[in-house]
Symmetry: C2
Subunit: 308 residues, 2 copies
């Protein structure tokens, strides 16, 4: 079975949307990525850090979905990373109400020995030097290194970010971040400039407008499934990345053609994530539900114009 | 050959974009719709009105592409409708600098006798009562009536608009207009409410984010081709509508499955329209170019996940 290493936050989130609000619930990039990747036949391990306040039952949720947690350090005297945000009515923008780094401030990720030869490394959104230190721990070059990041690191650690971007095969960012990173408005031109920074594949996430996959002069566009209601967008991008990485790891095929399928799987899983608060919808997702939604994605996008 | 009646403006446009500006050039909804539909094997006729200032050579451009202009009235002592607009840097918003209705103010469309039994009627953006009067002139019920409109008519003639909407099979509007017309933010819910107003098919245009086709509980999503540069978005929506209507007319098949193909053709033709100022790109478009871009659309959207 292919091995997938995931580094990212495991955290408490408190979320407010027009549909309601939560207390501190399970969140974090590595959590969403792991839960999403767990829908595939893959040996996934999360590398992260939590405080002594983090409930064992949350860790059990990951273990129950088959995500190895040996790489999640528990700092007993520390407090878990906490993020709180509020979504506006259109769900496309949000205010961050609180960010308490806590144990994340001095996070030194340690990849468990068994996973230093992982096939795929998924670097969730974190300080770029932390992402780099995970790559540095790999004893064999992974078949594919995927990096997710955000505008925050472009603002405060651009050099470190550019340095780690050079070393990855795939980058996943949203449209505004692609524009900021490249200085280009056109996403086609932005993707080309980001290619030149290192990654052979550039995935640009456009939320409700879907996701674009660029590779050389080729492009693939996966729409998002139009939903009656987006309940809580938190974690959708990480769930996308987890589905993308999990599918590629499970198939062992990192060709551009198979990456198109991976984008569709990522979009499919993200469409579930937003249906309930936090990780709720992802915790009991069944293969049958995923299968049915893939069928919906086919109906949504496939057409029959014969070109001879 | 199937007959297609197109009603809409034939006009002068003056356009300013970040790439330059034009004097008065050929524009108007019926112009773009007609030029786009002319890429199909269809007998298309434009119904419109111009003033004595309108150059014969502009009318010849339509005739040369095979668009019948018997229904374009020329009011010698009148002036042609004029619109002027300026696009912002992101190309997604524009300011209207001038709107001179001129001969359009008292426009009484007259469908030529030969076209009163047309298979498809495409009602371009105009006062809804003018659109209705075209429907009223048809001696046989068209196989498909398609209506395009805009927020302006929702603001000043909502009752007339709702009345004509009841009588059409397909409505094409953009996302913001769908929200305004339905009072719903979610496009899925908006489409359902617009269904209930009459049209069995609802097409929601999202510009660079593509177009959605809704029918009962089914939905199809055609992305827009990611372009390096959008030179001038003027007419893209009408070109989409013209490709949609022209393809349906030429195939004689108005099923939902074939409408998916029509949306792809519409998107394909619109992707050419924005490459140059005004109608320039559409005037000398070849079948070969269209074919190549359809192939690009296939590569853009088609994937190969086997679902058994």
């Amino acid at each position: 079975m292919s091995k997938l290493v995931i580094v990212g936050t495991v955290a408490f989130d408190a979320i407010e949307t027009p549909f309601g609000k939560t207390d501190k619930i399970l969140g974090g990039a590595a959590t969403y990525i792991g839960l999403s990747a767990s829908n595939f036949n893959v040996d996934a391990a999360a590398v992260s850090v939590v405080g002594g306040d983090f409930p064992q039952e949350y860790l059990d949720l990951l273990t129950n979905r088959g995500v190895n947690i040996d790489g999640i350090e528990i700092i007993k005297e520390g407090k878990t990373f906490f993020w709180s945000g509020k979504y506006h009515n259109d769900m496309n923008s949000r205010d961050t109400l609180a960010t308490e780094l806590n144990v994340l401030e001095h996070f030194n990720p340690v990849v468990p020995g068994d996973y230093k030869d992982a096939d795929i490394v998924m670097l969730g959104n974190l300080h770029p030097s932390v992402q780099q230190s995970v790559l540095d721990q790999m004893t064999t070059k992974p078949k594919l290194a995927i990096l997710d990041t955000m505008n925050f690191w472009m603002d405060i650690a651009l050099d470190d970010l550019k340095s780690v971007i050079k070393n990855v095969d795939v980058i996943t960012i949203n449209d505004e971040e692609a524009r900021q990173l490249s200085g280009e408005y056109s996403l086609v031109v932005a993707a080309r400039k980001i290619h030149e920074m290192g990654p052979k594949y550039v995935v640009i996430k456009k939320g409700e407008h879907g996701a674009l996959l660029f590779h050389n002069d080729e492009v693939f566009y996966a729409p998002a499934l139009p939903l009656e209601e987006v309940f809580d967008p938190t974690g959708a991008g990480d769930t996308f990345a987890g589905g993308f990485a999990g599918y590629l790891a499970s198939t062992g095929d990192t060709s551009f053609e198979n990456m198109k399928n991976a984008v569709i799987y990522g979009s499919t899983l993200a469409s579930f994530c937003v249906e309930k608060f936090g990780t709720e919808r992802m915790l009991n997702l069944t293969d049958k539900e995923v299968y049915k939604r893939l069928q919906a994605f086919k109906n949504l996008t496939q057409f029959d114009i014969k070109l001879t």
